[in-house]
């Protein structure tokens, strides 16, 4: 317990660090709280991204990676984390006011949130979403702080066999929680694994699948592929669909922000349950904000006394998914910080950001650079508080932003993406590659393949191969090592059980129900 407080104190100290900054031209030196400012910028950019449909968190984080080059590592990670949870806040705003989810995680919020807005209760809906998110953020921050240290100790006992099995479990989770066909999700993961093979072999240095193209010798950059399939592909798809349609705004002014006591009482248990569900699903590899908001909504509807109210402006239908997606966005940092395994695509980009700054994610980070980990954890709580305070008054501005027509917005996104990718390595070839993956992503969308498992496979590929090879080497080629080591065997057993479960007809139907419900 004292450890916990000591660690959190270290974290808050890091966040509140002042750095002397000399104003150019004036020559006056003033101390500025750099990390707080970066946290604020991250949260605001995140909200912006969350508000604007057509640009997602993954593409934004990829786009901003080069911006963090010049920052100290702590500040860089604080800002990127802020984008992720800020987006969850922003997404809810547009879901409620204009019935457009700016972010995949707030798709379900449109169901009841927009209904509430139509009934003239947009204010309370926004407030409950913000309060729920804040509560979830607080709980998740404490959870990360509590679980961080013990999980790290646990992770240090992992050998290569256990790591391999754990990643297998992560990929299986990604499949189970993915939308649509299980078979297609597995195929996408394997496609990702295959893509990760491009480049030089880690042990022998042999060139693999690179076709003697020098640009491929180093492998495909993760940010490049992410920008292609999430950034460019999304733009192309939106151009198809005519993104301008269905963008009628709720014109009446948002008045009466404060929810009534009755609202609060009704929403409180839903917030609690949503937070719990979101925290659990966030920790699991393969989970994340999107799936947990679906799950929380469905769960809330299941246990409700009169489920017919849902979809007609029930405050619980706003509170539960909004708390859940924010909780999950934050707890998904746990596997990254303790095990070094990214549970979803955004976290995979965080790995990229850490690598840029020379940090190898994993259990060692928490011991060697405690101020980095705890600073980030503390910044999450502060960031959530800032979002609560800033966002409600700013609602009007965010809605104004939605009036920017898509035909002016998307060329801007295209050049920002291009500049972002170019500046990672100053390589024009990367830009071309991202463009090519944009077309691949477009094709994937047209054939209803999910890009998220592909990215996860691509990130985990090299890690899995390395650990597989190492485990086989240590066991002298005995493949049973994965089954004779108890921890590894248990992890594999869970993966297998999960996979079998998803193929069972009964559960399969349930799973489809959840997704169909969330779409209609």
């Amino acid at each position: 317990m004292t450890d916990l407080f000591g660690n959190l104190a270290l974290g808050f100290n890091t966040v509140f660090q002042f750095i002397d900054w000399t104003i150019p031209l004036l020559g006056v030196t003033i101390p500025i709280p750099v990390n707080i400012l970066l946290c604020l910028i991250g949260a605001l950019v995140g909200t912006l991204v969350g508000v604007l449909p057509g640009i997602g968190t993954v593409a934004t984080v990829a786009m901003l990676l080069p911006i963090t080059f010049g920052l100290p590592p702590v500040g860089a990670l604080i800002m990127l984390a802020g984008i992720y949870y800020g987006a969850q806040y922003g997404g809810s705003t547009t879901s409620i006011l204009v019935n457009i989810p700016g972010e995949a995680g707030s798709v379900v919020t449109t169901l009841d949130g927009h209904q509430m807005a139509k009934q003239g209760r947009a204010g309370p809906a926004l407030a409950i979403a913000a309060i729920g998110s804040f509560f979830a953020g607080c709980v998740a921050t404490i959870l990360i702080a509590l679980l961080g240290a013990p999980l790290t100790k646990f992770a240090l006992q992992f050998g290569p066999a256990e790591y391999f099995s754990l990643m297998t479990l992560g990929l299986v989770f990604a499949v189970v929680l993915a939308k649509g066909s299980v078979l297609k999700a597995i195929a996408m993961i394997v496609f990702g694994l295959l893509l990760s093979m491009v480049g030089s072999d880690l042990e022998t240095g042999a060139s693999r699948l690179a076709f003697n193209i020098p640009e491929l010798a180093d492998g495909l950059g993760f940010a490049t592929v992410a920008m292609g399939v999430f950034g460019f592909a999304e733009i192309i798809r939106n151009l198809d669909a005519g993104a301008e349609k269905g963008r009628e705004l709720v014109q009446q002014k948002v008045t009466g922000l404060m929810p009534t006591v009755a609202d609060l009482l009704a929403a409180a248990p839903a917030i609690g349950r949503g937070t719990m569900l979101g925290s659990i699903l966030g920790i699991l590899p393969g989970g994340g904000a999107v799936i947990s908001s679906f799950a929380a909504y469905t769960f809330e509807k299941k246990i409700s006394n009169n489920p017919s109210q849902f979809g007609k402006g029930s405050i619980k239908g706003v509170a539960a998914p909004e708390s859940a997606n924010n909780a999950a966005a934050q707890t998904s940092f746990i596997p990254l910080l303790t095990l070094g395994i990214p549970p979803n695509a955004v976290m995979a980009l965080m790995v990229g950001a850490m690598t840029i700054h020379g940090i190898v994610p994993g259990p060692q980070v928490m011991q060697k650079q405690p101020e980095l980990v705890w600073g980030m954890i503390a910044s999450m709580w502060i960031g959530n508080l800032m979002l609560l305070v800033i966002n409600l008054p700013l609602v009007g501005i965010w809605v104004q932003l939605l009036r920017v027509p898509y035909h002016l917005l998307y060329p801007c996104i295209v050049i920002f993406c291009a500049i972002g990718i170019y500046s990672v390595n100053n390589a024009p070839a990367d830009v071309i590659m991202a463009g090519a993956f944009g077309l691949v992503g477009y094709w994937l969308i047209k054939h209803d393949f999910e890009p998220a498992p592909l990215l996860l496979g691509m990130v985990l590929g090299p890690l899995m191969e390395e650990n597989l090879r190492r485990a086989m080497l240590i066991s002298r080629g005995d493949a049973t090592v994965f089954l004779t080591r108890p921890l590894s065997a248990a992890l594999l057993a869970v993966s297998l059980a999960l996979l079998i479960l998803t193929f069972l007809p009964m559960l399969r139907k349930k799973r489809e129900e959840v997704f169909v419900e969330s779409e209609n």
């Binding site: 060329p411 463009g435 191969e465």
Partner: protein, 165 residues
């Protein structure tokens, strides 16, 4: 999303292939797996109890082969969504804009690269009002030229290379 399911329910596809979307998607993955198999065939495989560089790529390629075949088979046998229409205008101009940026950024500098790729990308939509687009394009180019080289200190060169000499 809802569009595709709507189509699928609206007119169940007649013919041999009952779910063309899955069928062709799966088939493409099979082709990709075969290609990867061929491309990694020259890499050494397992030697003794040590994995060679070719082991993992071939392992994943064969997995993808099986899965792709599975997806294609599902598409063949069970009714599913039809192929969606591909549009040409959007993909073409967005890709062209990206390529133009990649090829102009080194020789011609950020100003020209950013502005020209903005304008090319803008052709991807039919809804442009060109006066407005031009103004936004100039503003965004100016913003980028301030943000990246100055505010963020990234090594971008603004003018074309020949003007520097």
């Amino acid at each position: 999303m809802s569009e595709t399911t709507g189509h699928a329910q609206g007119n169940p596809k007649k013919g041999l292939i009952r779910g063309p979307q899955d069928f062709w998607g799966g088939l493409a993955l099979v082709a990709l797996a075969l290609f990867a198999f061929y491309a990694s065939s020259d890499l050494p495989g397992i030697r003794g109890f040590q994995f060679g560089p070719g082991t993992a790529p071939r392992l994943f390629a064969s997995l993808l082969l099986v899965l792709g075949a599975g997806v294609a088979l599902t598409g063949l046998l069970t009714p599913g969504a039809p192929l969606e229409r591909y549009h040409l205008r959007g993909p073409f101009f967005v890709t062209l804009a990206i390529l133009s940026f990649a090829f102009t950024i080194r020789p011609l500098g950020l100003i020209i690269a950013a502005f020209s790729s903005f304008m090319i990308a803008a052709f991807g939509s039919t809804e442009q009002r060109w006066g407005q687009t031009l103004i936004v394009g100039i503003a965004i180019t100016a913003f980028c030229c301030f943000l990246f080289p100055y505010a963020l200190g990234l090594p971008f060169q603004l003018q074309p290379r020949f003007m520097l000499q």
